[in-house]
């Protein structure tokens, strides 16, 4: 393996590069479901279709082309699978350094730690809490993904027993953490068929850890603090040893060390995207480091961990080990992770117009909002989860939220009056009551004057819509 092979990045790759390696059978066999090889090539480049969909390519005849194509389309950051079956997680697989270049893949799994010196009750409670974490964010359920069992005891039999206990009570993928190969093996013996991630090989234990990774066929984290040359050397050694599935840990430091942590993560990712294969592996971030030898009040350490986690997620961590399980620490980070991994080309505004929810009739409520994507998705999710039958008028505010568009005069009484006329709502309902967002309350008098509709000032946040309608709809005649 050369350290610096110049390969086209995903931004430079053209469908022609792929096309010329495809079978190009005439007439097209269309076994993949596409019209022809060019259509297939286009989708392969944008990663909409997997190469394996092309049946002829998988035959002996095209073995060389298949291998070439796999190499051509492989992301600069290798994708590593931890766990098996339904509950496995994928780590890495990033095609680019910056989010705006191409959708980031494989949202960084968040692993919560369990120490082997915790009591059985503590362990079971913690597993339950990790599995039970749920948050409904604009219609998507956010969850935690993994458990990192760490050996604070450094006692193999204790670790083995705790790993077994954890594995019996959860199907979440595991990270087994110790620098002692004997401890790791004690854990691996009971759970290796579940393909846990081993943490970690170091300058001191690498050959024993490599043996374990090979023997039990599990992925391995390589840990060298703040020395990328040594980290890379160790990767080179392990790859040569035959361990192919690696994760990199250059160390997570807090306080004054945070600058170097950010720089190390950034240098690794930029090098990988520039073609450095030895650094082309996922990065492990450990916000749990905020808890190291600290005597401050717990809330402060949680606070620090919440901040550190968001920094690591933003600067290229592909998997994150955390200790805090408090909702206010986890929530901002699971939401930010969700956001970071969305399609960057998704527009900031949605189509304006009249939207219909459920099966509204001529007596159903009429509400109004703006076409900023997040405003619309939030309102939409709140209406749907409460199963409300209603009409929602989405005003084109140039993608501004309610507050900004009222302040900047993109949502005015004049504009609302015009939209009411043009939307066709006046034919759909027989009443003339308009529910406006609480944040647009100051427009209500003017709207009534100009449009002839009566205004009901709704809640400031759309989560209040169900209660609002229960109390105020149908409106009482004055």
């Amino acid at each position: 393996m050369t350290e610096r092979t110049v390969k086209k990045s995903i931004k430079e790759l053209s469908p022609l590069d792929v096309y010329k390696l495809l079978p190009r059978i005439t007439p097209p066999c269309a076994e993949c479901g596409e019209k022809n090889c060019m259509a297939f090539a286009v989708k392969a480049v944008t990663r909409e279709v997997a190469l394996e969909k092309c049946a002829p390519l998988l035959t002996e005849k095209y073995k060389a082309e298949y291998a070439q194509l796999r190499d051509l389309l492989a992301p600069p950051v290798k994708e590593i699978t931890v766990g098996i079956g339904d509950r496995s997680v994928k780590i890495g697989g990033k095609a680019v350094q910056y989010r705006h270049e191409f959708t980031y893949h494989n949202p960084a799994p968040i692993a919560i730690d369990i120490a082997d010196e915790m009591s059985d009750t503590q362990i079971l409670e913690r597993v339950k809490a990790i599995e039970g974490f749920r948050y409904n964010y604009i219609g998507r359920i956010l969850k935690l993904d993994m458990i990192a069992v760490r050996s604070s005891s450094n006692d193999p039999s204790r670790f083995g027993a705790v790993v077994q206990k954890v594995a019996e009570s959860t199907t979440l993928p595991l990270i087994l953490c110790s620098f002692n190969p004997e401890v790791i093996e004690a854990g691996l013996k009971t759970v290796y068929t579940n393909r846990p991630l081993i943490y970690a090989a170091t300058e001191n234990n690498w050959s024993k850890m490599a043996e374990l990774a090979l023997k039990y066929d599990c992925p391995l984290v390589v840990h060298v603090s703040e020395d990328l040359r040594m980290l890379k050397s160790l990767v080179k050694t392990l790859v040569e040893y035959g361990v192919e599935d690696l994760v990199l840990d250059p160390g997570t430091f807090v306080g004054k060390g945070l600058a170097s942590t950010i720089n190390n993560f950034t240098m690794i990712r930029r090098s990988a995207c520039g073609g450095d294969k030895l650094l082309g592996f996922p990065i492990l971030g450990a916000s749990i480091a905020a808890w190291k030898e600290r005597t401050e009040p717990k809330e402060l350490l949680m606070w620090e961990e919440a901040c550190l986690a968001s920094i690591l997620l933003s600067r290229y961590a592909d998997v994150l080990v955390m200790h805090s399980l408090e909702g206010w620490v986890i929530l901002p980070n699971t939401i930010w992770r969700f956001n970071l991994y969305t399609d960057p080309s998704k527009p900031v505004s949605v189509e304006a117009g009249l939207k219909i929810f459920g099966a509204p009739n001529e007596d159903s409520p009429v509400m109004i909002t703006t076409n900023y994507a997040l405003t619309f998705f939030t309102v939409e999710s709140d209406i749907r989860s409460a199963n409300i039958d209603c009409f929602l008028i989405v005003v084109d505010t140039g993608g501004l939220s309610v507050e900004s568009s009222v302040a900047g005069r993109y949502l005015t009484a004049e504009i609302i009056t015009e939209v009411l006329r043009k939307s066709g709502i006046e034919e759909k309902v027989k009443h003339r009551y308009l529910i406006i967002p609480g944040l647009a309350a100051r427009l209500s008098g003017e709207i009534e004057q100009l449009s002839g509709w009566q205004v009901l000032v709704g809640p400031r946040d759309s989560s209040g819509i169900p209660t609002f309608l229960k109390d105020r709809w149908p409106p009482k005649k004055e």
Binding site: S178, T252, L340, L374
Partner: protein, 410 residues
């Protein structure tokens, strides 16, 4: 020159997948591809798009029989340093006595020659700063913020003093909300008096925030510019709406004549940001322009803000001279997210921490994207962001103990 600008614009505005294939397809009639025959019909179906992808595995390297290494094989590592043709302009806020103002000290932002905190490439010249929000009238504030400013509500001068003395504000932003025709419609003269009072109460640089109504803001900014002459305040903000209404020149002239800085605001759209900057260049020196590209709250569009700031900064460093301005984040917008202020179940408590962590995370993410100045409110968020800036603005070379979190006993 015009041509050059156009190229830069293309680069800045559209960093998309596969730009090269477009050129290639355009010229398809003229070129011969090595050993490839394509018929025209096949080409038409190629539509550039960014789509959810199915990524593929690196193929296992061919089996080579080799001995297992017995010692660590040395590899070389060179920091992946790039060179940038562009540089961010430095903008100075505030003016001291010797400069004709009355500030205790001035602040300089910008000047970056590489992406944010890429210390392996460049040292951080001017660390980002925090300006604390102050309102000239009673506004509705989330409870966890209100607690900290209860005593000074409605008194912008006292509030500004609190922000500097207690919250360690680098600068203060006075939001003249009372001037909004839909709220109190306070006069430009009243607004100017408020600014004078704040200038007397504190000696840090001042940012003057309008109400959002373009016409009223121009009127207020003109008056404020005069009474605060030579103080080098920043007017927040100048918008494309002012340009459309034909009143941008008026406010720019007032800013220039009195030596102030302006904040150019656009809503998550780099092309509009560039367009507005071009209009501003007609009236103002480039060193007096800061950009606000819009800050959306965490959970409420922060990813758009994050990517637009990264794009703007990378384009600027690559040479786009219409984006080479320092940037500002209205981080207080974080409180627009329901998770920041709403009462939720017991498992999400305490709200007193959930709110400020929302503001903090919103700031940290944008700090990493290159923002130079943050408008903030909650004292805990302000302190944390200032601490993080201090910690990541310089590499500390003292040898640290290895980060062993495996053995921590909580």
């Amino acid at each position: 020159m015009a041509n050059n600008n156009r190229n830069q614009e293309d680069k800045g505005a559209s960093i998309k997948l596969g730009p090269k294939i477009l050129d290639l397809l355009r010229k398809i009639g003229e070129i011969e591809l090595e050993n490839v025959e394509i018929n025209a019909e096949e080409i038409e179906i190629w539509i550039p798009s960014l789509s959810p992808a199915i990524l593929q595995q690196v193929p296992p390297s061919p089996e080579i029989v080799r001995g297992k290494p017995t010692e660590i094989l040395k590899a070389e590592f060179k920091p992946p340093i790039q060179t940038y043709s562009g540089k961010i302009l430095e903008v100075k806020l505030g003016a001291t006595k010797s400069e004709g103002g009355s500030r205790g000290k001035t602040l300089t932002i910008g000047g970056e020659r590489s992406p944010a905190f890429y210390l392996f490439e460049e040292t951080q010249l001017n660390p980002p700063i925090v300006s604390v929000d102050v309102f000239d009238t009673e506004v509705s504030l989330p409870k966890s913020i209100r607690t900290h400013v209860q005593e000074v509500l409605g008194d912008p001068a006292a509030w500004a003093k609190l922000a500097v003395d207690k919250f360690n504000a680098d600068a203060v932003t006075v939001h003249l909300v009372s001037t909004d025709p839909l709220i109190k419609n306070a006069s430009a003269r009243d607004a100017a008096r408020t600014i004078e009072q704040v200038l007397q109460a504190v000696d840090v640089p001042i940012i003057v925030g309008g109400c959002g109504d373009p016409k009223k803001d121009v009127e207020v900014f003109q008056k404020v510019s005069e009474v605060a002459a030579k103080e080098r305040v920043m007017l927040s903000s100048l918008t494309p709406d002012m340009a459309e209404a034909g009143i941008l020149g008026d406010v720019c002239k007032a800013a220039k004549d009195n030596g102030h800085v302006v904040l150019a605001f656009t809503a998550l759209d780099l092309n509009r940001a560039k367009e507005l900057n071009r209009r501003l260049y007609e009236f103002l020196p480039k060193e007096s322009i800061v950009m606000d590209l819009t800050t959306a709250a965490l959970g409420y569009g922060l990813e758009y803000s994050f990517s637009i700031h990264e794009r703007a900064r990378l384009a600027a460093l690559a040479g786009d001279n219409e984006l080479q301005h320092p940037t500002l984040s209205g981080t207080t917008n974080a409180w627009a997210a329901r998770e920041a202020w709403m009462k939720m179940g017991a498992e999400w408590e305490p709200r007193e921490l959930r709110g400020p962590i929302w503001e903090t995370v919103t700031a940290l993410v944008l700090l990493l994207a290159g923002v130079d100045i943050f408008m903030m409110m909650h004292p805990a968020a302000i302190r944390t962001v200032k601490d993080v800036i201090k910690n990541i603005s310089g590499l500390s070379h003292t040898r640290r103990e290895d980060t062993d979190w495996i053995s921590i006993r909580m």
